[in-house]
């Protein structure tokens, strides 16, 4: 067929699909509107709506005698948070979240670095599998598995005994605050399990951030006379910082809100999540539970604001 005889304008594909394709092509905003409306309704009404309902609850108070909720605006419930017993819970949770975040970042960085710089082909697949695989199994199963590992008769105690390091474990457990009868009933145990469970949420953003750092920046730094340590401080760390901050948002906020891990592994002293659970369940004190819930939200807000002020997102 000669080149000149083909039609210039092709006929419409026909049918409803063809007509819709043409309409959406001419009016791309219509498609965007149709695609975004359902999730926005979900996010706006169901999700944010319930959050605001919760926020509202925290400004009510409970009548000590009748146990009924007094629906009048008051800051009394927030005042309750400052009572030593409640304030301890907040300090304990925030300290734990900070320690878990720091440890996750330290453990995750080398893993993310390896994955971003060196892993190729099947090693990269293995990396993703290794990170994701634990997420496929039930969170509760993993935590109970850890309870067995950390128990007095568990693998870890056995391992320390085999290595003739039982004295080290005993010394650690005899320390105030972090110690206890065994790892499974100590804050150390809670800490280890938190780090284990949230680690993927730190590794993936760090890996993604390092993936975007061109390899020749590391070479350029070395070329200009920087030792590997200086290259890490001056090039890699600042460029990975948005990833570390993103990861820390996950680990920090997830630790602030979790109530299952400290309940199964740890001491009888409460964390914020457990306090919320206890207040809204057994105690029936919804306003105090709501006030407790607002604490992590406020802390995360402050944290993000501080991270932005420190320039953590400048490299984005």
């Amino acid at each position: 067929m000669p080149a000149g005889s083909a039609p210039v304008i092709l006929p419409s594909r026909g049918g409803i699909a063809g007509a819709l394709s043409d309409i959406f092509w001419r009016r791309p905003k219509l498609l965007l509107f149709l695609m975004l409306t359902p999730p926005l309704l979900w996010l706006g009404i169901v999700y944010l709506g319930s959050l605001f309902a919760l926020l509202l609850q925290s400004f009510f108070s409970i009548d000590d005698f009748s146990g009924l909720i007094n629906r009048e605006f008051t800051l009394k419930t927030y005042g309750e948070l400052l009572r030593p017993a409640n304030f301890d819970i907040i300090v304990r949770t925030v300290t734990m979240a900070a320690c878990v975040t720091l440890a996750s970042a330290v453990v995750a960085f080398p893993i993310g670095y390896f994955a971003a710089r060196y892993a190729r082909g099947k090693w990269k697949a293995l990396f993703y599998l290794g990170i994701m695989l634990p997420l496929w199994s039930s969170y509760l199963v993993k935590i109970y598995a850890w309870k067995l590992i950390l128990a007095k008769e568990g693998i870890l105690t056995w391992l320390f005994a085999k290595l003739h390091l039982s004295w080290l474990l005993d010394a650690w457990l005899s320390l105030p605050y972090v110690g206890g009868n065994s790892l499974s009933v100590s804050f150390t145990g809670t800490f280890i399990v938190f780090v284990y469970v949230w680690l993927p949420f730190m590794i993936l953003p760090i890996q993604a951030a390092l993936e975007r750092v061109p390899g020749n920046l590391v070479e350029a730094s070395s070329d200009l006379g920087a030792t590997p340590g200086q290259t890490f401080r001056n090039v890699l760390f600042p460029l990975a910082l948005p990833g570390i901050v993103a990861g820390s948002i996950f680990t920090f906020s997830l630790t602030l809100g979790d109530y299952i891990i400290p309940q199964i592994i740890g001491t009888s002293r409460l964390f914020i999540g457990q306090a919320v659970y206890a207040q809204q369940g057994t105690a029936g004190n919804i306003p105090l539970a709501a006030a407790f819930t607002v604490v992590p939200v406020v802390i995360m807000g402050i944290y993000l604001w501080a991270a932005k002020r420190m320039g953590a997102f400048d490299a984005l």
């Binding site: 061109p214 920046l217 070479e219 070329d223 090039v235």
Partner: protein, 331 residues
């Protein structure tokens, strides 16, 4: 006299790939040295061997007389201008330029002053506060140059530094680089796949192919007296003539190179080599023809303004016997 960079039987193999294969090379102090070759010819690997990003599989490298194997890049007084500049995106221009001084512990005010001087040297004074992302390609290139030069390296390595620039800018930078090199007296080692760039800027050129050096010489040497078919073809697209063809016209059975611009169209038919014009193109200052002469394709370049034969016309080609350059390549 010591050499600036010396390679003795240097090889760099990546598995079965011989990126650099038994290369001997001496670069003189203060010289503008170009490594020319197609991509994958080993020229960039050679540059990386000098910088210290790669270690030789075999052989030895010395820089100003000092053995360089096993010495990490940060202990070499050699700096690199990277192909895509590799500027640090999180630092402003001044901090980029001052980076080398910063990691060596030079004080803040002193390094700011030296960095500003380096920016003046590359004609970007007052650009210190900008981010690399706010600069044009040519400006980034200058920053990369300043960032390397501020360290006063003994050898400056340039990896296709002009590759990403447009033609006009490239020509300006070629001239500037040349002047800068003369003024500073630093040994420049320049990697390029652009033969025009290598010939116009370098004092000496090494032509690479398949991990080996085909020929080292001055631009005139390389252009006028290529030793191998590869060099003749790669540098200035010379006509490479087979031993049979050469035997017919000069009596010697040798491979030969004949520059397109050395060939003229004969005034009258019957002279020289007869052929048919197959294609022609207008290149501004010159006209370029492809002539089919008894099965051998010859490229001919004539100055514009001379009569231009039609496509398919029969022509006769003549050249001076001295312009037919016989090569060392075995017949």
């Amino acid at each position: 006299m010591t050499t600036a960079v010396s390679f003795e039987k240097v090889s760099r193999h990546f598995g079965a790939v011989r990126a650099v294969d038994a290369v001997d090379l001496d670069i003189r102090p203060g010289e503008f040295f170009a490594m020319l070759g197609p991509s994958g010819s080993g020229k960039t690997t050679c540059l990386r061997l000098i910088a210290g990003f790669e270690q030789p599989t075999a052989g030895s490298i010395s820089i100003f007389g000092e053995r360089a194997e096993g010495v990490p890049p940060y202990r070499r007084n050699v700096n690199t201008v990277f192909q895509d500049y590799a500027l640090f995106p999180h630092l402003n221009v001044l901090d980029n330029v001052a980076y080398g001084l910063m990691v060596k512990g030079v004080g803040r005010t002193e390094r700011a002053k030296q960095a500003e001087d380096a920016l003046k040297l590359v004609q970007l004074p007052g650009y210190g506060a900008r981010r690399p992302s706010q600069l044009s390609g040519g400006q980034r290139q200058r920053v990369a140059l300043a960032r390397a030069l501020v360290n006063k390296p003994r050898v400056l390595l340039l990896d296709e530094p002009l590759g990403a620039l447009d033609l006009k800018l490239r020509e300006n930078m070629q001239e500037e680089l040349k002047l800068l090199q003369r003024a500073l007296g630093i040994t420049f080692v320049f990697v390029t796949h652009d033969q025009g760039e290598a010939l116009s800027m370098a004092d000496r050129v090494a032509v690479f192919n398949d991990g080996r050096i085909m020929q080292i010489g001055t631009p005139q040497d390389i252009y006028e007296r290529p030793q191998t078919r590869f060099v003749a073809d790669f540098v200035g697209s010379s006509n490479v003539l087979s031993p049979d063809f050469v035997a017919r016209y000069s009596g010697k059975r040798r491979w030969a190179s004949l520059r397109p611009e050395k060939i003229r169209l004969a005034e009258k038919a019957g002279q020289g080599v007869a052929g048919t014009v197959r294609a022609r193109s207008f290149l501004g200052a010159t006209n370029r023809f492809t002539v089919d002469a008894e099965g051998t394709r010859l490229h001919v370049i004539t100055p514009a303004g001379q009569p231009v034969p039609e496509d398919g016309a029969d022509v006769s080609l003549v050249w001076l016997p001295a312009d037919l350059h016989l090569m060392d390549e075995p017949a």
